[in-house]
């Protein structure tokens, strides 16, 4: 049975944990990624995504637990693992003071490919990632999107069956992001197993077969994007307001008629709350009017991965803060 898991899963992790001082950056981390699938590790900054990637790519040793990548233990056989993986970390993993071609050739030489083979592979990858015209230019003069593509090319020199990407599209404009997504889809089409971390729910929705939601070093949910949306999502009522200072009042009004706690999105200037069968939009509008809220838009929609993320990451912290405001209200009332 174990044999079966090893051959059909590119990455298996059990009870992985990493402690820094008193803090656990990662705890009880379980994973089983089927060969050829895409796993999205989703979480905020500091949720433990990068720590998980660093353990699985042999960069750091775990404090607890075991992990196998491509059938090899990351602690006992790091070199065997390294032969099977490609890694693109968040920071630039290519050399800015060398040309794109020289970077890729250097990586090939570090895999001990003969010089000619390394050069040919570099040229092949530059062409595939549409960097052939930039191959002779210094990487420091590349645009963000070009540099990411070169980073990816550097991870592909040895055609690794398992690829790890730590926030591959952070800081990219939408066009470059879409380009990179297309590339990743091509790779997966060719049989590569992909493990990527992201803060963007859309990215996980677009690419991942399975999603692991991390929060404060712990897994809070796993499943396909659809499963997660169905399980934790349901329909939402969304109220968009004119200004930031309306958000509190809108949330309060919405909670009176909705089926659960309202989530506030300050950037998007909206509040969203779970809707039940019996939730009527007209009641929401009435509640908003009674609360004196200047609402721009009120609508029902299907849950997004965003909603799942919102309702699962640190719910205690948010519930605590809403309670705190209610408690202080009560105190004022009794005083």
């Amino acid at each position: 049975m174990n044999q079966g898991i090893q051959t059909s899963h590119a990455v298996v992790a059990e009870g992985l944990g990493k402690q820094y001082g008193e803090q656990w950056a990662l705890r009880d981390f379980q994973l089983a990624v089927p060969t050829g699938s895409v796993l999205g590790l989703l979480g905020h900054n500091g949720a433990g995504k990068t720590t998980a990637i660093r353990i699985l790519t042999t960069l750091v040793a775990p404090t607890t637990g075991t992990a196998k990548v491509a059938g090899h233990d990351v602690v006992a056989e790091p070199d065997r693992v390294r032969e099977q993986i490609g890694l693109t970390s968040q920071a630039a993993t290519v050399d800015g003071l060398m040309t794109g071609a020289a970077n890729l050739e250097m990586i090939g030489r570090l895999y001990h490919l003969p010089r000619k083979v390394a050069q040919a592979r570099a040229a092949e990858l530059l062409a595939e990632l549409r960097l052939e015209d930039a191959g002779d230019r210094l990487v420091k003069d590349y645009s963000g999107g070009m540099r990411r593509r070169l980073d990816l090319a550097a991870s592909l020199v040895a055609s690794p069956p398992v690829l790890f990407l730590d926030e591959p599209t952070t800081g990219l404009d939408p066009e470059s992001r879409n380009e990179l997504w297309d590339l990743l889809r091509q790779l997966v089409g060719g049989g590569t197993t992909l493990i990527l971390t992201t803060q963007y729910l859309e990215e996980a929705d677009q690419l991942a077969d399975d999603v692991v939601l991390l929060d404060h070093g712990k897994i809070v949910a796993t499943g396909s994007p659809e499963q997660l949306k169905a399980r934790y999502g349901g329909e939402r009522v969304v109220v968009t307001v004119a200004a930031d200072d309306e958000l509190g009042a809108a949330a309060e009004a919405l909670e009176k008629v909705a089926a659960g706690t309202a989530e506030i999105d300050r950037e998007g200037l909206f509040v969203a709350a779970p809707a039940s069968e019996s939730t009527r939009l007209i009641e929401v509008v009435r509640a908003l009017e009674e609360g004196g809220v200047d609402a721009h838009d009120v609508r029902r929609r299907e849950a997004t991965l965003d909603d799942v993320f919102f309702s699962l990451t640190s719910p205690r912290a948010r519930v605590a803060s809403t309670h705190a405001t209610k408690d202080s209200d009560r105190e004022e009332a009794t005083a």
């Binding site: 042999t58 050399d95 003071l97 250097m106 001990h112 592979r121 092949e124 990858l125 091509q186």
Partner: protein, 285 residues
């Protein structure tokens, strides 16, 4: 159709076991040393501290101060000067390795190297190799410019050879020291600050440019026991240049060759294990 080329399986040589690993280490280290040479091609200014700066110092001190500084106990100032400048340049040679490793550690490139099936010590060894090559260049430039301003080697070939040996030992000690500072510092700028504040006074409160006899009490004792003084005195002694060390001077000056080697060994004995540990901690933390 594109997918095919991206995921073309590449036949990889496997990481060998046993003694063959050493050959892999050598290849990896050399590939990484060549990376630093490529940097120098792009930013030639990187080499200024080991080329133009010593050349400038030789010319400045030889022609600006050369006429007014007399060497006590006789001898030509140009003959005296070169030993000091050689040692000063090697001492400042800690800056380059520190800055370059701090730069790498501040970026993600070491993660890339660590995720490859290459030899673990290759990065540090490649780094030290490249920096050592830069030092060899610096010493060559200074020896040639010294010969031009009237300096010469007056000792036996064996002593001269021993002197080059000592210079390279000093260089290795300072490169390791710089690497340690680079691994511990938070940024390349930090390295420059630390190196300048530490090395600049050390090379001046010494016999680098003038004999220590004229220094006021307190400062003179510091200069006498300063490793830079022992190194400069040893280089002058081994090249057969005037040392301006009267008999009855402090022990490290009278026994400068032994003192110099002892300083280098002591620095390496402390700095090498600290550096390796700090590097491991920073790259696997």
């Amino acid at each position: 159709m594109n997918a095919n080329a991206i995921s073309t399986p590449t036949a990889l040589p496997r990481v060998p076991a046993g003694p063959a690993r050493l050959r892999w280490l050598a290849v990896d280290a050399w590939v990484l040393a060549k990376r630093q040479f490529a940097h120098i091609r792009q930013i030639p200014e990187k080499l200024f501290d080991v080329t133009l700066q010593p050349l400038m110092f030789v010319l400045l001190f030889a022609f600006v101060f050369g006429g007014v500084i007399a060497v006590p106990g006789g001898g030509d100032y140009h003959e005296y000067l070169i030993g000091g400048i050689l040692v000063q340049t090697l001492a400042f040679g800690m800056m380059g390795p520190g800055v370059s490793i701090a730069t790498d550690l501040g970026e993600g490139i070491i993660d890339r190297f660590s995720s490859l099936p290459m030899s673990r010590p290759a990065y540090l060894i490649g780094h030290l190799t490249a920096e050592f090559c830069a030092t060899v260049l610096a010493v060559t430039i200074m020896v040639i410019s010294g010969l031009i301003v009237g300096w010469g080697i007056s000792s036996t070939p064996l002593e001269a050879l021993a002197c080059f040996g000592l210079l390279f030992l000093i260089a290795i000690a300072m490169i390791w020291l710089g690497t340690l500072v680079g691994v511990l510092a938070r940024s390349p700028d930090g390295v420059q600050g630390i190196a300048f504040v530490a090395v600049f006074p050390l090379t001046f409160v010494a016999n680098t440019f003038v004999p220590v006899g004229g220094l006021p009490d307190g400062l003179r004792q510091v200069a006498e026991y300063n490793p830079i003084s022992a190194w400069a005195a040893a280089v002058r002694t081994l090249f057969g240049n005037p040392t301006a060390i009267p008999s009855g001077s402090a022990w490290p000056l009278e026994h400068s060759v032994i003192a110099s080697v002892a300083w280098c060994v002591a620095i390496l004995a402390i700095v090498v294990p600290l550096t390796v540990r700090a590097y491991r901690r920073r790259t696997t933390g």
